[in-house]
Amino acid sequence: MEKQNIKTDVLIIGGGIAGLQAALDLGDQGFSVLIVEKEASIGGRMINLSKVFPTLDCSSCICTPKMAAAAHHDKISIMTLAQPTNVEHQGAGFAVTVREQPRYLNAEDCTGCRLCEYACPVDLVHEVEGNLGARKAIYVPFNNAIPQVALLDMDNCIMCGACEKACPTHCIDYLQEPREHTIEAGAIIVATGLDLAPMDVKAEYGGGKLVNVLHGLQVERLLAPHGPYGRVLRPSDGKVPDTVAYIQCAGSRDHSIGIPYCSRVCCMYAIKQAMLLSGALPLVEVFIYYMDIRAFGKGFEEFYQNAKAMGIEFIKAKVAQITEDEHRNPVLRYEDQVTGRVEERAHDLVVLSQGVVPAWDPRAVLPVEVGGDGFIAAANENVAPCRTSITGVFAAGVATGPKDIPDSIVQAGAAAAEAAAYLRGNDKVESITTADRPAQRPVEVG
């Protein structure tokens, strides 16, 4: 296996919005940064969202400039398809082993033209589209991916050679091997983001087998301009949905599935999606079944009240069960908490607000303290929320707990400040008495 040594001031694990923001804030201070991203593109979850609450601006329009700024920054390097496999202390810093998966092509020569993709005969389900759309066995992950470079999914390749014939730069290299790098880093920031709890955790909600029951990230793709269908349709037959139901806390605040905490973003994205659905489908009726609406951030409550005024229906109810009728319409059974009646209602499409869970458990690689909820625990949460139990290792974004985008971005800035201060070696503030203290009057002018 090819091995390579790289030196960097800070290693950031995760190239989503939190990792990118931390990288930019460190790079702008003059520190060298290496971002290690497990997917084929940076951008994380945010780049694949439709519009974002509460301002309803286009997610890609906000995320792309940060991706481009990081990619073009002379202090920032990016390694995709790469994950750390081992971390060891080395002097004041760390030696991190990173395994980089092959793209099976020379990324420097690929121009992202996608001719290989059009030539490939293998049709597969596209993970980036929430498994709703299609991709080929060789493909550019999505339109605004950075880097704009294809990757070959060797597990599904039938070795026909069509991609190589189509490639204008002959950059395809079928025999590429994984590479191992040793990163010598002064500090580490973990910004590994989120996954959603799997759809099959609750048997009473169909156990993940109901085709017209989706999770929030899939609906983000349906609403995005380049979504898998190009418009909002349901997966069972392509019907334009007339009624859509959201089930809040479907996988949160629930001890029975091991996610007792609030996932913090589901209320707001459900309200946002309801508004976007109403915009995209003028005739649609949207129902939100909820326990508490948690619209707590800046502008959130106002956003919620707007949604109510728009006619989105909020039903205070706990949904007991979801089944399916003969047209594959999901049928909800719930107790309306205001009327006390048990009701049944069929919808064209149902969206489950699945719980937010950490995308990466660091412990096997990096033994930072993790809380009972699986998120990285802060060593001194009230005043220093980004410090972990290991000096020199910081965390940001959803890695430390569910968070919306503004909170993640702010925390990323904080992690950058912590890492920078640590690298400057300024954390050994001794008790200084008045006598030792240099004159510290402010600069006086005039």
Partner: protein, 635 residues
Amino acid sequence: MTEDKSQHNGEGADAENIRVGVYICHCGGNISDTVEIERVVEAAAKMPSVVVARRNMFMCSDPGQSMIEEDIRTERLNRVVVGACSPSLHELTFRGVLTRAGINPYLFENANLREQVSWVSKGDPTGATDKAIRLVGAAVAKARLLRPLEPIRLEATPRVVVIGGGLTGLRCALDLARLDLDVTLLEEQPFLGGHLAELGQVYPSDKPAREILGELIREVSAHPRICILTSAEVIEASGCVGTFLLKVRAAGEMETQCFSAERIAADLASRAHGPNGDHHNDGAGTTELEIQAGMAVLATGFDHYTPSQGEYGYEEHPGIITLPALIRELESGGLGSGPPALNGRPINSIGFIHCVGSRELDGVHDQNGKTELNHYCSRVCCTSALWAAKQLQARYPDLQIYDFHKDIRTYGHGHEDIYEDTAKSGVIFCRFADTAPPKVTVTESDPPLMISLKDELTFNEEIDVPVDLVVLVTGMVPHAIDNLVDMLKLPRSADRFLQEVHPKLRPVEMAVNGVLIAGCCQAPLDSVESAAAASAAAAKAAALLGKGYIEREPFVARVDQALCNGTSACVEECKYNQAVSLVETAGGARKAQVNAAICCGCGMCAAVCPTGAIQVDGWRLDQFDAMIDALLVNY
């Protein structure tokens, strides 16, 4: 308008011997399969000032880049046009080539022949080739008028003024100092610690607030880079990013010494008695001084919402108090160590009413003499109320607690556990619709207070709950900083909190360049979130001031003083305070002048200038006119 043709065709450029090189990329067929590259190169060769026109399979490749570099040297090129993919991919690559070859990188222009020609014109190769030629023509026309530009460098004082000495200000000051910047921390009160000092144990860490703060204040006051001014207020502000000048009035002597542990403890202990508690006396007299700073961070925090008289019975009975008042009683032991009592009245039951002064709705809530209703959620009060309930339960197990809410918003780390714990140990929860807030009445009976509402948790039953104590769970309002807002021209959002530039792109920056915000002056936040915002602001300041100068892209407005008539049209049009202003010139005429530190380069000024004297560098109107002329040329 009389049109000066020569201006558009770049006569000015002819003074210099313009030599343009044009390079067309095949992109391995991505462009050349649709666009006839040979024809584009032929046409380009005929364009004015073009001395070299070449093509390459991949212009971005090493051989492609070397070809340009070589030509710049041997053909003495001073402008370069590359027709290839979108500038978003390789504009910086090619600017780098120009730099390496020894010419100014801003003398490069791109023609987008892939994303905007070949990939969108597969069915019309002839039309695509024609379009490519016209776009290359437009790029050449612009290139001829390009001028060398230099990044803007502004002097910057490596000092930051942090306004506000609560948790946010302290955290921010400490981080700035840790990032090797000098800090002046201004606090209007005689003591540090802000509202956090009023609290006892805080969630989620369960640590005493005073311990957390004490440690932080000790570090801040001990740090050699931080100067603390208490009882301080800003009375005048001028300057701009890099060189702000703040005139500050501070009571007593300036703090130049490290706070002693005793002093910190005494200050914090006094804070537990409320905002008007005893405090350390700084001595008589005031001093005024001017502070020069590169940036300012606002950490001015919040005030507790004060209900108006009669709002849920407030001030109509001693048993109706706010949550902060209850917390104060809890901290000072005011409820007693035996069975709870307040001011001699035994307390057997308490009712918490949420969303007092938060989440108010037009047509539902009285304005109660306020100028505006608070439509926003105050974010922290649900958890704070339940946290207080949990502590009450622990101290007084026989106490019956009721909680009246619209939604329970225990969103954060550990918050849901607090909710569950209180529910398990007997708090009774009732829910009211946001259009039907509960009513509080003072009765003659015992207990003396009655809370009436329709309870959504018992199928909208009308219930009357008698209690001994009503706790109004009040939220936050922004701390009054009208003076600062006026002096620094700070934008506020509809909720009257300070408004960031963009909640996601630039969450801790204000539209006024060099002014940052953190903590509850921006929106209600808890201590964890405030601390994060404080550190984020510190990182931003360090990025800008760390080098000792501020560097910006050169695309800002510039005034041609010879053309300027001093009409001030640009000054009136500009939305950025003092980005452009009129100054007296040596000849006594008044002419416009741009402050490159503030100008954002939008060009709003350029459109209203009667003589075209003010233009945005890199995007000048004559360049656009030349491009349009070129688009219309048939080659």
